[in-house]
């Protein structure tokens, strides 16, 4: 379980997070919804130690993360894998080498075992036919799936997804969504997804949180959040429809 308490982040004069609280429950997929530039990725990066907040506490499996020493912080985040918005694959390496990268770098296994693991995880995310290709030859969806395989090859307990379907066509989005769902079901990982894509809520979410004005304004179960009349539904999911109506064009 990961718990974020009273998180404050400021860039220059701009306050991005203003006392954010969030609970990522064990074994569940929590989706954080919010408009672009509202601080969703910042929240994720704070949990991973990539951004240092001005104030607040982050508890990973009950242990305070921000106050821990560097070595302990590294140990704590070693249980977390992350899928970046654009995949962040290394251009000079093949898909196979990209997926094998963390294992090779940390010299965890011999080449035979690395090969076995790469093929296993590539099969889970359905990228096994592209292992010899270079990232530049992959479509956006394939890149994300390759990056997903790289994120899970160290068998993390938690998986974070930063806008996993942004910029993808509907078919590619669906394939990435299925890969994420499959990982959740097969590996039983606890997931945190930040997005503004409502479809992800329908397909993946178990818990839904709405980030607005630097705070988690509402957190509801999937069924409640998707129910017309709920706070999240009326404040975010139905907001497009509402604005369309107010504009007078619909």
């Amino acid at each position: 379980m990961i718990e974020v308490r009273d998180l404050w982040v400021k860039f220059g004069e701009k306050e991005v997070l203003k006392g954010l609280n969030l609970l990522i429950e064990e074994g569940k997929t929590t989706v954080v919804l919010g408009r672009s530039g509202i601080g969703k990725s910042v929240t994720m990066k704070c949990i991973l130690g990539l951004i240092k907040p001005q104030r607040g506490q982050i508890y990973i499996d009950g242990e305070e993360f921000l106050g821990a020493g560097k070595a302990r912080q590294k140990e704590l985040i070693s249980h977390i894998g992350m899928l970046m918005q654009n995949g962040a694959l290394f251009d000079s390496l093949t898909v196979f080498d990209n997926i094998a990268f963390p294992l090779r770098y940390h010299r965890k296994y011999d080449e035979k075992e690395i090969g076995r693991r790469v093929h296993h995880y590539a099969e889970i995310v359905q990228i096994q036919d592209a292992l010899d290709m270079m990232p530049k030859d992959l479509s956006g969806g394939m890149k994300r799936k390759a990056a997903l395989a790289r994120a899970i090859i160290q068998e993390p307990q938690y998986l974070f997804y930063d806008e996993p379907t942004t910029g993808l066509d509907p078919t590619s989005s669906a394939l990435v969504e299925i890969a994420i769902r499959k990982l959740k079901d097969e590996l039983k990982v606890t997931s945190l997804v930040v997005t503004h894509d409502i479809e992800l809520v329908y397909f993946l979410a178990e818990e839904v949180a709405l980030l607005e004005d630097g705070l988690i304004l509402y957190k509801e179960s999937r069924d409640k959040a998707l129910h017309p009349g709920s706070e999240i539904y009326s404040n975010f999911i139905a907001s497009r429809e509402k604005l369309h109506r107010e504009s007078g064009y619909v």
Binding site: L48, K74, M82, N86, F90, R107
Partner: protein
């Protein structure tokens, strides 16, 4: 002006600090980090593939080579690493999450690739220059291949080769490391990227002059042959 007023650093001071930090980082992580051979080899191939044609031209038109050296790495390495870009900042984050020190993966392979590539470029450039000289000699004065090459190589001695190799390695190392360091120069847009690349070129041209002077003085004091 009150004592509390913070004076923002000028662009050149920022560039200098960025370079000093990355030079220190390079040696620290070279000693401490695991050596990424695979990435070094990939970067070396990229440098050779991207550079050989310009080196060919540089060996024909004198002066291009030095100018190219100063700008090439800045454009190739600095432009790629530029931390302000979405792709690169994501890669740096991904490396940190995988507990891989970004310096060992981004800095060391590029610096070693550039250090090893420059002596090859220089050798290639000399070879092309000598061969084209022979073509002219043969065309205008009907000079034979054997006489030309026997005389051309009779001027080369071990001291001169050592001197050239030392210059080439030092130039490759310094220009490569400066260019990579300026890739970490804080940029907020395409304009800043242009500025960083220009700085890289100016700093590298200045570095080339200093290296030439320093190695020239050392080789003169050791009575090594000076390359023409």
């Amino acid at each position: 002006m009150s004592q509390d007023t913070i004076i923002p650093p000028t662009e050149w001071v920022l560039a200098r600090n960025t370079i000093i930090n990355k030079w220190m980082d390079f040696f620290y992580w070279l000693i401490k980090g695991q050596f990424p051979w695979r990435e070094t080899w990939e970067q070396f191939k990229l440098v050779i593939l991207n550079g050989w044609m310009t080196v060919f031209m540089g060996s024909v038109v004198q002066g291009i080579f030095v100018m190219w050296m100063a700008g090439f790495y800045g454009d190739m390495f600095g432009g790629y690493i530029w931390v302000g870009s979405m792709q690169m900042s994501e890669q740096i984050s991904a490396l940190k999450i995988m507990d891989v020190e970004p310096n060992t993966y981004l800095v060391i392979p590029r610096v070693i690739a550039s250090t090893l590539a420059v002596p090859l470029f220089v050798g290639f450039s000399f070879g092309v220059a000598i061969f084209i000289s022979w073509i002219f000699m043969a065309f205008f004065w009907d000079l034979s291949f054997e006489i030309f090459f026997l005389n051309a190589f009779s001027f080369i001695d071990p001291g001169m080769l050592t001197n050239s190799l030392l210059r080439a390695l030092t130039i490759g190392f310094v220009t490569g490391l400066n260019a990579v360091a300026l890739g970490f120069y804080p940029c907020n847009g395409a304009e800043d990227l242009g500025k960083a690349t220009t700085k890289s070129m100016v700093i590298n041209l200045f570095s080339l002059l200093l290296i030439d002077l320093a190695i020239g003085m050392v080789s003169a004091s050791l009575s090594m042959g000076a390359p023409t």
